[in-house]
């Protein structure tokens, strides 16, 4: 996939389960400036729908991309989120 944006910051929540991926993502997004992009790396499969649901309900973020990355021993769910305000 061609990247049309630069990732500003990365949040690693691998190994953590619900509700931590969403809660930690929200805390990290709060630290960002408008336009910044946060990449969240999670191993919780539920983070796909959780982060999608959370981002959809928020006016201050835009979910740019969600991908599953096979890292051999585990699948990493990668979420790119832009802060918009």
């Amino acid at each position: 996939m061609s990247t049309k944006y630069d990732v500003t910051d990365t949040l690693d929540v691998k190994g953590l389960s619900c509700p931590m991926p969403v809660v930690k993502t929200k805390q990290s997004v709060d630290e960002l400036e408008a336009g910044d992009v946060l990449r969240v790396l999670a191993t919780d499969r539920g983070s796909l729908s959780d982060i999608e649901g959370w981002a959809g309900s928020s006016d201050s973020v835009e979910l740019l991309d969600q991908e599953e990355v096979d890292e051999g021993s585990e699948t990493v769910y990668q979420h790119d989120i832009r802060r918009v305000d």
């Binding site: 190994g15 953590l16 389960s17 619900c18 509700p19 931590m20 969403v22 809660v23 993502t25 929200k26 805390q27 191993t43 919780d44 959370w54 309900s57 928020s58």
Partner: protein, 190 residues
């Protein structure tokens, strides 16, 4: 529009109508200002103090806070144990009366079985990367969740105010909870 034939009485009517329109416009502006804040509000009542029943309200509260919702959890009866600094670290799981755990009650009732069930669940919680009760309480408080301890049941169970986590609101009762629930879109009893 023609203005050359206004009668005296029409002038008066127009003036009073104008005044009424202004009055209504002001009223509407007030209503719009009051409803412009579209922050959702959620109130939960937490009544249980077993390990498995402590999780749902805390998970929902911390997640709702991440949604920027205004969240209050009113703890009463055994739900107070979740806010009790010492007791919250030793919440128990019981297989008695819990058919989902697949242990016959007569076996589950044997002394030591609760401790064993709790230990096994604690291990699973750790392995699964599930947050601890303390972590979820800290997260909730950090994010501005209002955790309340019911005064009547705290007195009934002889819990000292200082035994609760810092940041817990004490001295609240049913009326305070109802007042908050009346303002909330979402109300849950756990």
């Amino acid at each position: 529009m023609s203005t050359d034939t206004p009668s005296q009485s029409t002038d008066v009517d127009v003036a009073s109508l104008k005044a009424r329109v202004e009055e209504l416009e002001d009223e509407l502006a007030g209503i719009e200002a009051a409803t412009a804040d579209d922050t959702k509000k959620m109130v939960m009542i937490a009544t249980k103090g077993s390990l498995d029943m402590a999780y749902p309200p805390l998970i929902l509260a911390s997640t709702a806070a991440a949604f920027d919702w205004d969240v209050t959890v009113f703890h009463t009866f055994w739900g107070l144990d979740i806010l009790h600094e010492e007791k919250s670290k030793n919440l128990k799981l019981s297989a008695v009366g819990n058919p989902s755990m697949g242990v016959p009650n007569i076996v589950a009732a044997i002394p030591g079985m609760d401790a064993m069930a709790t230990r096994m669940m604690g291990k699973r919680i750790e392995e699964n990367g599930t947050a601890s009760i303390q972590e979820l309480i800290d997260l909730s408080l950090d994010q501005g969740v209002e955790l309340q301890a019911c005064q009547m049941t705290a007195d009934l169970m002889d819990y000292d105010e200082d035994a609760f986590y810092d940041g817990v609101t004490t001295g609240v009762g049913a009326a305070a909870a109802l007042a908050e629930m009346g303002d909330a879109e979402i109300q849950l009893l756990v």
